[in-house]
């Protein structure tokens, strides 16, 4: 992190990520909130790049901006009334309290940790390392995740299947 460019990039990206994260909760319009959320994701991807985790950064853009944000947009657009306002609910103060608690825990943990810095240079390429780890050491969690996703896919198909399809065919 001695590199001036990296430091500037870090602070810009941190400001962008945190600012838009606050915006997600603060703005009234839900679609604007999704836009802010996309900015947050993009900022996080940038932070990953400054950590020389290029694979994670690109996957962050691909999955979070390209898929999860779209999923949220779909949910908002397909829900009547939800697209209009980010209304004040009765959960407002409990949520604020819980959020504050989480933030306090994280700040405490960050301050308490002894941040060791390593002198080794950044990784050349992380994709192969991650691939090896996923299919070798962490093969079981990887497979469990894929079974879970398969179950989700089958569940989605069963849910949207029109009734009485067998008689038609």
């Amino acid at each position: 992190m001695e590199d001036t460019g990296t430091v500037i990039a870090f602070w810009l990206l941190a400001a962008m990520t945190l600012g838009s994260a606050i915006g997600v909760a603060a703005v009234r319009n839900l679609i604007h909130a999704v836009g802010m959320l996309i900015m947050t994701f993009a900022g996080l991807a940038g932070l990953y790049i400054t950590l020389s985790a290029d694979f994670i950064a690109v996957v962050q853009v691909l999955i979070y901006i390209g898929a999860i944000a779209i999923l949220i947009i779909f949910a908002i657009v397909l829900t009547p009334q939800a697209g209009r306002h980010n209304q004040e609910g009765f959960m407002r103060f409990p949520a604020l309290g819980l959020g504050g608690l989480i933030a306090a825990t994280m700040i405490y943990a960050a301050l308490d940790t002894d941040w060791a810095t390593s002198d080794r240079p950044g990784f050349e390429g992380t994709a192969t390392v991650i691939g090896d780890a996923l299919l070798d050491r962490y093969a079981l969690p990887f497979e469990i995740a894929s079974v879970l996703l398969l179950a989700a896919v089958i569940g989605a198909i069963v849910l949207v299947r029109p009734e009485g399809m067998e008689e038609d065919e």
Binding site: I65, G66, A67
Partner: protein, 414 residues
Amino acid sequence: MVLLKGEWYDFRDLTNPVRELLDGLGLPGDVDYVIWSILGAVGILLWLILSVLAFIWIERRVVALMQNRIGPNRVGPAGLLQPVADAIKLLLKEAITPRATDKLIFWLGPILIFIPTIVVFAVIPFGESMALADLNVGVLFLIAAAGINTPAVFMAGWASNNKYALLGAMRTIAMLISYEIVQVLALLGAVIFVGSMRLQDVVGWQDEFNTWLLFVQPLGFVAYIIAGAVEINRSPMDISEAESELAAGYHTEYSGIKFGFFYQAEYLAGFAVAAAATTIFLGGWTLWGLEEWIPGWIIFLGKLYVTFFVYIWSRGTLPRLRIDQLMNFAWKFMLPLMIVNVLVVGTEVLIWDETEASRNVALPAIAAINAALAVFLIVGWARFLGHGTGTQAGRRATLTDEVGRIYYGAEASS
């Protein structure tokens, strides 16, 4: 030509003059890097703008020829200045913002749509050392950049507060998400062969083995070209802005230069997809040793323009698909085929590695197997789904059937 190597007048590599210039100035490394990047970006942008202007004219003339029309021929010799006139017209026209729009997002839409299309060119290798940022996750970067397109299009369609715009945006999202999977799997086949996601390595692999990935991955190439046509919204896949159904889809409410942005972004995305297809499947800047004599970037641009021309050609020839046909094609046809393809490619590479067969045996064998497999899978799967057998009777759409049942009673329908 070897004598020219590395000199500033060696036009085979346009980075040479820049390097000479920067070395002569003797700036510190950081400043050097910044200038280098800016020059590269400006160069790419200039090339893109000129290409877009040229291809607007080419496309209009060529499609006109195909459709037995004349096309623009009044402004300048043979209508050559038509794109310039169009650009000036777009700049001078009033950019109307309807009252009921979401102003901020309406304004952001045309800008956001530009980012993914331009950013792709940063990782494309134009020549041996002519890649602005040769990421080692280059292939994934291409897909991720295309993924940013989706929210941008949705923002534009939603902010317009127009039902046709919103319909177009929703269609685009459905389309892009479905074909993104096909695209990823198509590129995965190529990446398994190369064993690297760095685009320079992909080109290098094709150079080393004296082949194109097109020959060892015919199915992947076809899938990528089709998915690319969907991604860049070109006919026959342009249902998100189908003029006959949706006015102009997600950019219905845009006018003036804002519309111009969408129009340009469409061309730029076309070039981006063509550039990716060229790099990954068509050997990039190599041409079986000819790159020693002809500058690599000229070869690259030649291949790129030919690939892009295929899109123009298909636009002039093929009718537009319906939304349900397009989605069925993605999920029921392309997706199973691509999964089988990835499986077969993985097996082939494993066998190649295990047997350590010489490349002169392995590559032709793999090419023959994959070509046969492509034909077999496409024909076989289409037959299995009931296409092309002549027995597929036209079935009434479900909604029509339901309405008819209610209106005429159960006997009248079916």
